[in-house]
Amino acid sequence: MADLRDLYQQIIVDHSRSPRNCRVLQGASLSAEGDNPLCGDHVTLYVQMEGERVKDISFQGNGCAISTASASLLTEMLKGKTRAEAEALFESFHDVVTGAPYVEKPGAPALGKLAVFAGVSQFPLRVKCATLVWHTLKAALNQIKEPVSTE
């Protein structure tokens, strides 16, 4: 049986209550918006690149604990990472939240705190909440203007 404490781990509750890097990033070189139309989650992600590296990253939005914590932890994890590392990390993260067997991706940074999202895999309806900000990141890095939608 799925355990709620696996989903709502302390670190997730903490980041949802006090999200890090939750602000507009003035002069961000990249940004994108993401929507989860079914539950009304909305996120705007701001990225300041320096060459191939993420110099600064922040987000703003409305969402559930899972999507807010995911956005908060994403910004923590990605500061200083390269574009390629960010994309590889998304793949690892996606495996974690969908319960796919862990395979080390070449060039992917360690999952670190993102491992706390493993509990999401027991709650299939919540996978979209966890991945919304990551899809939004991909859109920002690829300069996609249309808002990303989970539907």
Binding site: Y8, H42, A65
Partner: protein, 423 residues
Amino acid sequence: MKTASNPSDHKTTQPLAAEFNLLQIRQDFPVLKQTIRGKPLVYLDNAATTQKPQCVMDAIVGFYAFDCSNVHRGVHELSRRATESYEGARLKVQKFLNAAESREIIFVRGATEGINLVAHSFLRPTLQPGDEILISAMEHHSNIVPWQMLCEERGAILRVAPINDLGELIMEAFEQLLSPRTRLVAITHVSNALGTITPIRHIISLAHGKGVPVLVDGAQAVAHMPVDVQELDCDFYVFSGHKLYGPTGIGVLYGNSELLEKMVPFQGGGDMISSVTFEKTTYNTLPYKFEAGTPNIAATIGLGAAIDYVSAIGLKNIAAHEHQLLAYATEAFARIPGVRLIGTASKKAAVLSFLVDGVHPHDIGTILDQDGVAIRAGHHCAQPVMARFGIPATTRASFGVYNTTAEIDALVAGIYKVKEIMG
């Protein structure tokens, strides 16, 4: 031959009118007998869809098992039976809504299609640039978007009557927005997101006073209170079968016959014609003019069975029971610290929309689901209502004929668990 659509079949499984037997009612709904993760299912998402009693399922299966045939066509016995059951359902709906004539009952896919039909066939042919359509700030998207699309196409203007902080229509503002350019008022009978029961008779008399026809969205009303379209004096009334313990894919548009007669067809096809040549087609009479193609016969018969079912219990009895549940839940929620109700109108139907401090409704939904408590979390297809209250979403518990105070206790216990986990 016995078909389940025969009313005598389900009399045996129903309580007598005026005698509300909750235990018996729960027995009528097989879905309620299950457990979810070891806990009894507590189904509090009735505003989204209601569960189906056995008699409705029997009626559907009975049609397919014994009477399956097309309607209005064949000369054979099965087609006769199918037509009789299908048209029998229309008579049941007529009686249920107290419509003057059965030809005023048009079968559609649901309330949404009924509204789109009126937009297309009633308003679209004559709507001029600068004309106005008046709706309220608490409409479901289905009673906003068809009008928006039409306004965009015709250069007409969508006016929105505001609501107050309790979620009640501000009548003075509504009256002021009724203008010489208003061509239609389209308004909900009961708000799906807030539970507000609108003063629909007063609204209709104000509109009619200025010669404006009124469409009433009754999707959230018909399962919760008696509705009499002649007494309301509405021009159009729509509802969906699946929110009335009936099947999905079937709904009703009631229209005043004088208006329906003048309207152009909605869709072209079989059954809606009386003669076709390549030069000219003559349309069929009401109600068939609006029922192109083979209809959802089984679901229509299922809807007829659902109407028999709720009528036998009595809509007044159902309303009284749900009113008790709402009062019980409202009082229980008032005692939970950090909980705020959204929608506190003085007249409400069986909807409890709420927020828990610092916890997103989606998380509440997941935590309650772990204990088998099914509620809705989100914007309830009423994003403008959420915007009015400055919130992205609410958690909504909505009650039906089979719900119990013990189930509300389970919901309340779940909210305390939410606070513990997310605290």
